[in-house]
Symmetry: C2
Subunit: 187 residues, 2 copies
């Protein structure tokens, strides 16, 4: 079972200070649709701000309970769970699966405990992921704070580290990451 | 040289009727950033509606001419060109490169003249793309109209055709497509 989390705290601003970022509507929709496409078991929106949590609840409720004929959107948004912290996302996964997830962060820069794309894709394909759930963490704003990289089991290598320009939106980064890990192999 | 185009006409609505879709702010930003990451030569926003063209001009001018310190965003948005039609995008490419582009459409469904991921990636890696520019067309709303598939040189195979859920946003589809064609191979 693979879960993903969009982290709004703790993340960095452009000056490298730890902040709480604001939830955005399109992050919820785009990433929920990518999650549904690649068979993600749950998509956690992480924010400690109660008003922001309520915003996500209202937004998903609009699509899930409303009379909208757009059932594709319902399928995607049914994956969304709002939690206060990375720890709470972990606890929720334990409740559902009975096992603590292996927590893997993502970053545009190489971090310690770096895990290669090939290695994580191989882990996912092999049987051990049947018993250990995986939680992939994505940072909003200018990325996850250092304290997150310290607490996780490892960090996935950057998407295109050799490129001159390296400023993907988190929406694009999630799409590319899930495709690389779970998409059809056509190489 | 590889170019991409985000097509707002002719595209389909949910009922399969050909419409002009509205330009959205985040499509411009997200896809410009993906384009800059993967070394795209130009990103065409295609709409015949003059007000919409003006909107894109205003939005990019804000970032390109403004005093914003966000030069990463400037780099990305400098790739954006607004044109009225797919034909005009082709003409612009001829002006710059001296050659007509090979036009490849994209679709969530298998179309005629289907080109595999492997084949197009191979074409890009081989020398022939040095002389023939490539223009990749992405449809907004519910996808490109049939007339586009008839006029192009081929259509790329869908991203994850075997999946039950197949409703990526165009932003996610562009990110995954450029990564599959131009990203690091790590298989």
């Amino acid at each position: 079972m693979i879960y993903i989390a969009l982290v709004h705290y703790p993340v960095l601003n452009r000056r490298g200070e730890t902040i709480v970022s604001a939830v955005t509507n399109l992050d919820i929709h785009d990433i929920a649709r990518v999650s549904a496409t690649y068979g993600i078991a749950g998509y956690f929106i992480i924010t400690p701000v109660e008003e922001q949590q309520a915003l996500v609840h209202d937004l998903t409720a609009h699509w899930l309970k409303g009379g909208s004929p757009n059932s594709d959107r319902k399928t995607a948004l049914s994956l969304v769970h709002v939690v206060s912290s990375i720890e709470e996302a972990g606890s929720r996964i334990v409740e559902v699966s009975g096992a603590s997830p292996r927590m893997i962060a993502t970053s545009a820069r190489v971090q310690e405990k770096c895990i290669s794309w090939r290695s994580l894709r191989k882990d996912i394909n092999e049987e051990k992921q049947c018993s250990t759930p995986l939680l992939l963490l994505f940072g909003t704003a200018s990325g996850l704070s250092d304290q997150v990289f310290e607490q996780v089991d490892g960090t996935l290598e950057p998407i295109e580290p050799g490129r001159e320009y390296n400023h993907l939106s988190v929406r694009s980064a999630v799409a590319i990451t899930l495709d690389r890990l779970l998409g059809r192999s056509f190489a």
